[in-house]
Amino acid sequence: MARITVQEAIEQALAEEMSLDANVLLMGEGVATKRPGLVQAFGGERVRNTPLAEGIIAGTAAGAAAMGLRPVIDLLFAPFLCYAMDELVNSAGKLRYLSGGQFEFPLVALAMTGAGWGVGAQHNHNVEAWFAHAPGLKLVMPSTVADFKGLLKSAIRDPNPVLFFVDIALAYAAGEVPEGEVLVPIGRAATRREGEDLTLISYAKTVDACLRAAETLAGEGISAEVIDLRSIKPLDEAAILASVRKTGRAIVVHEASRTCGVGAEVAALVAEHAFDALKAPVLRLTGPDAPTPASYPLEQAFVPQAEAVVAAARRLVR
């Protein structure tokens, strides 16, 4: 297995899908500058720098997708999706339905999200729940290098609009990627560690906090199962419910703020469908309802850390 970084995994996925399908193209502010290898391999028509205008980039992608191209757009930082939200939510997400199924919107929107670079709240905002609430969209947020590659390939092949969030803290992390074709299905969670006493449910960088917490807990005789959602929408409800039915306890951990976040959805899901299996209330460990600060210690405090997961797990199990 080759060891590569997330950035390399993204580029490999793009290159592989662009060679397989001549309709795949990449657009964004500086994509041609930053990925000269792709320009060389596929030409300037298929790797396009754009003006600094996220709305027209997303609208162009939606229009092009409806007419048979498969655009991947790089919108850089997640807060900039505010400019592209109309095109993603109101056009790409709704026009298939409103047209009675006449059009498909096979596009992928890439954006970086999450604390770790000290760039402050206008460049760092975990907006996944906003889009999870919008019909017609899919959204993924991987945590491992192999998943970055495999999920991006699946997203490009998917006939629907897929938002692909790259947690900034993971962008240069290295990891193993299997040789050959790696396709990770959208909508399937991964069990990163098996356990009996409680389930830690997370995605993106906080999966690592959960794994480290599980390690510590194991030392105290508490066996934690760790589920990496990978895909926020569709959500792997079966995997969540099966694990909670087994362990009887759950903590949902994410960096995005709590109110109406993904954790609320998971907690409600468990309450609705596995209430009988619960031995304790479902807990949420999330970022605060505050913009992300730039200052390093504050930014770190924003993100649920392994120690907090351990403390919550102890409370839950005792």
Binding site: T50, T60, A66, G101, K138, P159
Partner: protein, 320 residues
């Protein structure tokens, strides 16, 4: 019914305008009489719709907005399926899921109707990019209003289309109104066309109430788009004679302004021209009016006969 192609005959232009007028008056009457969902009519703007659409070939694609019935009917839409869509019936172009505001009809090349004002301008660059990149023939025609032209997306769209050499004919139907706000309250310039010059885009302004003039200018503009592979902005100066959305008593409209534009109604103008030229006599025009009235009556019968969608349709077509 498929894409309608126009030959040189000017009578066909009048006939298409008459159908649109009769259809929209029926839609407005249905709203008033029986509580059928309201529509955004474009009464008074028929010449702009028909003049541009009559200039199109079979390969051209259309993007439009909330005031789309004229564009669709001019392109050959079946008035029955259109009315069925407005009434939320299964027989509509979008199975009743669009309603009046976002009707698209892929089979007619009427794609991606957006009722988010300006959305059509954002999508048009992508549709045109696909045409260009996939080496497909046919320009993309994007209809929008003066209100949309005051939005950022208009400027972003023109800039990108110019930069990438995309085959888009932008058609601004400047009808003086932006819902309940007069154009003069939202922009200092007298017209939109000149703005295109700043993006290196060719442009023209046309009397939007003269269907033959619109067709002539649109034909030339399309030749330029197809031949040079570059966008073009056509501004049609016209007026919305009815309200923004049915029902609308137009109490906010200046009576003199409305009267002046009523006097320039494109339908009587074209009728008088055809009579004066001897191409039609009064009997021929009466027959045309009777024919469109019968078509609209049949459309209504089709629409009310069409069932509502099955409730299972609530969650179909969300994902491909």
């Amino acid at each position: 019914m498929g894409i309608r192609l126009y030959d040189e005959r000017p009578e066909a232009l009048l006939e298409a305008m008459l159908l649109i007028r009769a259809y929209e008056e029926k839609a407005a009457a249905l709203q008033a009489e029986s509580g059928t969902p309201g529509t955004c009519t474009a009464v008074g703007q028929e010449a702009a719709a028909v003049g541009v659409v009559a200039a199109l070939g079979a390969d051209e694609l259309i993007l439009t907005n909330h005031r789309s019935a004229g564009h669709l009917l001019a392109r050959g839409a079946d008035p029955g399926r259109l009315l069925a869509e407005v009434m939320g019936r299964r027989g509509g172009y979008c199975k009743g899921k669009s309603g009046s505001l976002h009707v698209s009809a892929r089979e007619l090349g009427v794609v991606l109707t957006s009722t988010i004002v300006g959305g059509e301008l954002a999508l048009a660059t992508g549709v045109a990019l696909a045409q260009k990149q996939l080496r497909r023939p046919g320009a993309v025609v994007c209809f929008f209003g003066d209100g949309a032209a005051c939005e950022g997306r208009f400027h972003e769209s023109l800039n990108l289309a110019a930069l990438w050499g995309l085959p888009v004919l932008y058609v601004c139907e400047n009808n003086e109104w932006q819902a309940f706000v007069h154009r003069r309250e939202t922009m200092l310039a007298e017209g939109i066309a000149g703005w295109a010059g700043n993006y290196g885009i060719d442009h023209a302004t046309v009397d939007g109430n003269d269907v033959e003039q619109v067709r002539a200018v649109a034909t030339a503009a399309l030749e330029s788009v197809r031949g040079r592979g570059r966008p073009f902005l056509l501004e049609a100066r016209t007026y919305r004679l009815r309200g923004h959305f049915e029902p609308d008593d137009q109490a906010y409209v200046d009576a003199d302004e409305l009267a002046a534009w009523r006097a320039r109604d494109p339908l009587p103008r074209m009728e008088a021209r055809l009579l004066a030229s001897g191409r039609c006599d009064a009997a021929a025009i009466t027959a045309m009016k009777a024919a469109v009235a019968a078509q609209v009556a049949a459309a209504h019968a089709f629409a009310i006969d069409s069932p509502y969608p099955a409730l299972e349709e609530l969650t179909t077509d969300v994902y491909a």
